[in-house]
């Protein structure tokens, strides 16, 4: 797997914006496999139609898997323990 080409998780922002109302790539997440905490933007993005996989930059465990089909999308987040999202001030109470 490590020999396959990837780019930064940054580049997943477009696909993920179609699903989430906030920018998920800037969120910090914890890898369920190795415990690494970091921005999804720093993960390794493997983008092959019709889906994308964002893998942990340390252990390559899949954190986010998104597959799109006509009129629907499948999202698998089980590689993440949690996501810590920035909430605009004034909207968090």
């Amino acid at each position: 797997m490590s020999s396959r080409s990837y780019c930064d998780g940054n580049a997943a922002a477009g696909e993920l914006r179609d699903i989430f109302a906030v920018d998920i790539t800037a969120a910090a997440g914890q890898c369920a496999a190795c415990g690494m905490i970091g921005a999804l933007a720093q993960g390794h993005l493997y983008a092959f139609e019709p889906g994308i996989v964002v893998r942990c930059a340390v252990c390559e465990h899949p954190l986010v898997r998104l597959v799109k089909g006509p009129g629907r999308a499948w999202l698998d987040l089980r590689g993440l323990v949690y996501l810590q999202l920035e909430v605009p001030s004034g909207q968090n109470s």
């Binding site: 922002a13 477009g14 720093q42």
Partner: protein
Amino acid sequence: MARSRRRQHVDVRLRASDGYTAVRSYSIANAAHGDRVELTVEQVADGEVSPYLVHTLSPGDPLEIRGPLGGWFVWRPVSLEPVQLVAGGSGIVPLMAMIRTRAQTHLHAPFRLIYSVRTLEATIYSAELQQRAAEDDGLSVAYVYTRATPPGWPRAAQRIDAALIAENALPAKENPACFVCGPTAFVEAVAEFLGEAGYDSSRIKTERFGPSGGTS
């Protein structure tokens, strides 16, 4: 939505008449995102999208974009903390957006740029960087030429290394925010040099091109 939040790139999608599509992410080069985005595109020799953008696309042609996107690899003009930028080749583009944003806001956090580029001729934004650095004490630019040096350059062509970072970067004890952008191998080497020199890894943000991004 907070429209004023800075964003780092747009996705450009090309559609062929047979329905085939290709999408690439390009960094935004301008400071303000109003309703215009400036992209700097370097042609990749065997690329699928960049040759079309460089040679075929003409003023007035429609282009399908998604974005602006991505709030992570951005500098927000909210503090005066020092910033170290390290660019490899066309990795200068998102860092130029930060330099332009800084100039626009008059919040003069100290900025230092180390720009690794093949040759003088391959330098992007050369005149603008020279002018901005001359007019602004808070901005300094150091060049590393990897293939050929300009006439009279005091050192031989070389790749960036730990000694060059030690000589030109803001010291680790100032705890600068670091932004590193370039080809994958360049970014990973620079991040390692910074880590070994004692820079706080949580303050180092990186953006790598894919393996097809060429070398600098």
